[in-house]
Symmetry: C2
Amino acid sequence: MKIIAAKKILRANEQHAERNRANFNKAGVLTVNMVGSPGCGKTTFLEALFTELDGRVAPAVIEGDLASTIDAERIEKLGVPVVQINTEGACHLDATMVAAACDTLELDRIGLLVIENVGNLVCTAGFDLGEHVRIVLLSTSEGDDKVAKYPTIFQKSDALLVTKSDLLPYGNFRLPRVADDMKRLAPKAVIFQLSAVTGEGVQQVADWLVEQCRRDVKVSR
Amino acid sequence: MKIIAAKKILRANEQHAERNRANFNKAGVLTVNMVGSPGCGKTTFLEALFTELDGRVAPAVIEGDLASTIDAERIEKLGVPVVQINTEGACHLDATMVAAACDTLELDRIGLLVIENVGNLVCTAGFDLGEHVRIVLLSTSEGDDKVAKYPTIFQKSDALLVTKSDLLPYGNFRLPRVADDMKRLAPKAVIFQLSAVTGEGVQQVADWLVEQCRRDVKVSR
């Protein structure tokens, strides 16, 4: 009984996700589902990214958090349209939450929609939100064993952003170990090393995202 | 229907948790449920703790992970009895998993049983494992807004361990902000600042745990 219920929820989510994706395609919006542990640097990366994009595409953000509007306030300061979803305890966003948030956004005016998921390296892996690209963040301070220990979410990601490279001198994080684990789990995923403090890698991710916008959205319109 | 099912699962878990707690009390074992984000330093803290305890109490560990035996191997190297639970995708431990793990441990020979939960700052909050004490870890590199953003788990904890204090000079983590949020959510919780690199605070946590062993277990035997 429990298994059937879980399957039903996932099947319903898939249908809502497909509907979201159709809407994003129609509006020509590239949508990114951004996942990672609490404190891996998701919002800080977005602040750096939007400065780097400098108008090349028009961004918007959906912020997923258990509580508070801390992250949405940070995005709002940059003049980027943002919707905060408070899950009130739920451990991940689902496609219906994203659909409701999209109703408050003018999709036709947006080129890149980033959905910042709840900080959670486990549960966010199971729910398609209708995105085109899934990006997982891993900070160097979390340790280089995390791909091996939390394989599901890394396996389902199109890009890995290794954040906080400025902290590398103060720990024992080995990028080759992470790259090896990723090669095994997600051989097609691209890997970027970056730091919002020094600016390392931010331009490369911005360029890659602009390229994805051209490829995924413009072609499918 | 879904809500009823969830309630049923939680009620069944509570019953198993009470059974676990009764077993722990009978055997005179203080049991700690240790929670925190992936990479917040749970296993590294245990390595430092067991060295610091130096035989004052006999420890054992239950390791909860989605996959791999990486953490259990680290504990085994210290000569501490350890059981690895692989949840195969599940986002938290529950009381039945802990009961099964306990069947493989000689509880009568243990003074302090630490259950290292799956790295997850959300889902682990909802499941009592039968522990006496719940400890949440937050690393300075995760940022000082996490208590406000993930209130449930902090509210339900008896102690907060602020880890990786050696990284404080390289970030903008403000302990007073965290302490203020904890005071509001969990006024009785004790807060320790520590670093497994410099050794700061490890002795204080060890002393506090030995004190809890005396108070919670010896008295109740």
